[in-house]
Subunit: 296 residues, 4 copies
């Protein structure tokens, strides 16, 4: 859930340029979106606020038993949790809310209405025609910025069952500047960068299907005068291809494509400080000035 | 593990045309391969025999505790299991072997030596230059043919934790002609088609990275006079793109690319008998005569 | 200009599935189309008739002086020409009409109104959003069937300044089964196959931009239940990638992509009879039964 | 023909990274290259010098009669021409050399030995396996910098038969900052930018086949620590996709891909000064600081 400065402008951007599908609005002013290909009622939500940034990031768990079990584990780990009742968000079951050590709000939930991707579950066509804009496959991951990412990592690994996929070390060769963690076969489901200020968002990422779709996305951004931070290019980390760009409120978004599949038996990859540039932007092999400084 | 008729010819084919990397041979005559990008010592093995076909198909499990647990569950389910000692296969730990109701041999193992993909785990480049041939990313799945695929499905779901992703129904609207099952976020880790004769192989599939790599693979097949069954085309099932082709012994192989990611909360897709053609070959919307008849 | 059996169905097909833009209709019942990216008022025309097939194929020449000069050369070569007055076709200048030795009608013209591609000639965007269907870049070439293709070739080379790019030889090693000719840097602007019946059309071809667009085109054909003859695949001749398919009247169309650029100093390529399969369908390396028999 | 600072390092770069094929060296120290797919003996030549830059850029003409005719026209236009005898360059016929008003040396020639692309002219495969590096299709064009580009344009149009394809206007709305000219169906065969110093080179460009090959090229540059100026991105001018990068001597090179086909009846496109950024780098819509300043 993202905060935006102007709701109408943002709805127009996420609908016409990003090509998401608006699926509803609630009494508190939240606007709900899904990608056309996602099946659950919503995966991305915006609300008007005075400052841009991330309200919370959520993970769906297998079922309510898992939700209870994970809440128990969180409490055992010393984390304060809160239950948000079913229905507080449209078409969404009860949620367990808690704060990461970096002060980001995370939610877990087990139920969200399956509204389908418009193709049906019997003899579906391969894709939905007549969509607009960039039209990503799914909301994919986010990259958060905050101080104690070591404590975050410990919580994700020991409580939520995530696995470390890649990391960047600081100059001391020991401290993590950044870590990429997965709870699936994706190269990352969440990533975090060490940063002075807590609760910050670097980007929310949407998945594209091919490098040609990346070019098409960059073209659509240009046609719509969207501010591109960098890209199309490739990350060394995950090998994925990327464009970083900004929504009208200054929230950084990413179109991500590719990246290898990760299995829990795989050895994590480490990037040393002298090669952090190649890790982040593989072609230029150097960071641009905005990567470590511009967050919302 | 596949049986081939001529070992030298097959090694040459899998090395030069498929672009696999030979990683070893053992005293029993087995030749071990991995794709260049795979990290484990081997994922694909051939041995000389009088008839082509599948010796066994194996799944790696998380650790030895999981191996023990799954063996226990198999026995509880009434399946006879056998332990094959560590080292019987090169760089491979102890294996649990059992037969599916369709008489295919399946193996589970927890340990295989990580030999890496040649890029290292520190500051790796994005891919390995100077490879040969088709060079797939990984061995991906297989499609097996046999009589009681319902019993197979029950075993995979109830004992091994697989989930049904897609199915094709026969004319009666009830009986499954074919099922696709996953134990990951892949659209399928194994698939099966109802067939009179037990223990048959339809194809072993290798993953490619992009549709352009599919074209390149078809070109390489043509240059090397490889017999193409069908493709490049798209499957309706999984949405993946495909080429079916034959190794020198007549074993059908596939290059597979794309296909959606599957999560266990997703509703399975059903193809009805009248649309089975579109399910299998999305562009032609009809089966070719070989799909249901040519197996090894 | 193609003949179709049902005008409404055909307009719907060429608009919604092919993604052409209708630019006008005239009193004689002709419906005019261009691709979205073409700049001239029309490049493809259909009219209702009792049989499908090709009314004529036309080439634009540099200017009216060139039109006069080529008409003079045609007459000197013994060809009867006819002038069709400006305006007989919408937004089109005077045309010189003549018959090839294979009895196909060819027209030359110098003037057609530039209506633009919708992007303007000042600071254009890279492409036009919100188009429908396959949306090819341009009408590209046609392949005609008829008896005396040697006389055709002589006329195209000696009078109209075309160059031979590729040819397929019959079993005798001498006679041309087929020839591909160009008047530009394209691998072919017209092609012809030796065939008993005169005046026949094998296909009209439309250019696509990338192999991914070829996949998308095949998907759109499937969604719209368009009958695909063969493809996606590659031609050995020209190296281009292709789908052959049929319009609702049974006229074969092609989406063509790639193919090398040809310059007049380049040596032509010859395909021998035993490799004609690879020349036409590079992956399968054999002709399908329809290639030499189904024409309109 | 380019000047390089270190011949061995440059040969290694053009062979291993660019993937050109060295075809010979001559007594004067020139090293000759072609792309693997080009058929003529050479298209790109380097020689050791104290400064990087362009010795000359050459165009092949249809035959010796055309060479004579063009030399006559050049003289009539007031241009001093020089004949360089056949054989002065390896496998190359007589050349006509002259200086452009911007002081760049241009050569015309009619004869260069056809050494083929390794596939033969009978039943060729679709492409050559076992090549190295970026492996472009052909040397495509160059962009030169110098003062009087208006006089250049006049010469190319009126004497050599080129056509204006695109132009960028300066703030006055009248003066050309840059022009793109073609003598084929390519979007440009030469381009020029107004610049204080004469005889300067902005870049030499090599053609790639697809946007995926552009990504692969950028990856190869990163692996080989090649300095990338910008890209992968798209030009607004020509619509082509691009990477600008530097050879070891600091000569800027480009991999170019796509771009529309141009016919002489097409209206040229104009970019106004306020949109020059989008014209040059379509995604960023702004020039990088190096575009107008770094030349050799």
């Amino acid at each position: 859930m993202l905060r935006v400065l102007d709701l109408d402008e943002s709805v127009k951007f996420y609908t016409d340029v990003m090509g998401l599908k608006e699926t509803g609005r609630d009494a508190s002013g939240r606007v709900y979106f899904k990608t056309h290909d996602e099946r659950d009622h919503n995966s991305f939500i915006i609300r008007k606020a005075d400052t841009a940034g991330l309200d919370c990031f959520a993970f769906k768990v297998l079922n309510n038993a898992t939700l209870d079990e994970l809440e128990g584990k969180l409490k055992d780990f010393g984390v304060t949790t809160e239950r948000v009742p079913a229905g507080e968000m449209l078409e969404t079951g009860e949620r367990v809310r808690f704060k990461l050590p970096t002060e980001h709000v995370i939610e877990l939930y087990a139920e969200k209405t399956d509204v389908g991707n418009g193709l049906g579950y019997t003899n579906p066509e391969a894709w939905l025609p007549d969509t607009k804009g960039i039209n990503p496959i799914r909301m994919d991951h986010c990259l958060i910025y905050g101080p104690d990412i070591d404590a975050n990592k410990k919580l994700f690994e020991e409580v939520l069952g995530f696995t470390l996929v890649e990391r960047v070390k600081l100059e001391d060769g020991t401290t993590d500047l950044a870590t990429w963690l997965t709870c699936s076969a994706k190269a990352h489901d969440i990533a975090m960068v060490r940063h002075g200020e807590p609760g910050k968002l670097h980007h929310v990422s949407f998945l594209l299907q091919s490098w040609e779709q990346v070019l098409r996305a960059a073209d659509i951004m240009s046609m719509n005068r969207v501010s591109i931070d960098i890209g199309p290019t490739r990350h060394g980390v995950t090998r994925g291809t990327t464009i970083y760009f900004f929504d009208p409120s200054g929230n950084r978004l990413e179109t991500f494509c590719g990246g290898y599949d990760f299995y829990p038996d795989m050895h994590p990859t480490t990037w040393t400080w002298d090669e952090v540039g190649a890790g982040v932007f593989y072609h230029d092999r150097k960071l641009n000035e905005r990567f470590l400084t511009v967050v919302t």
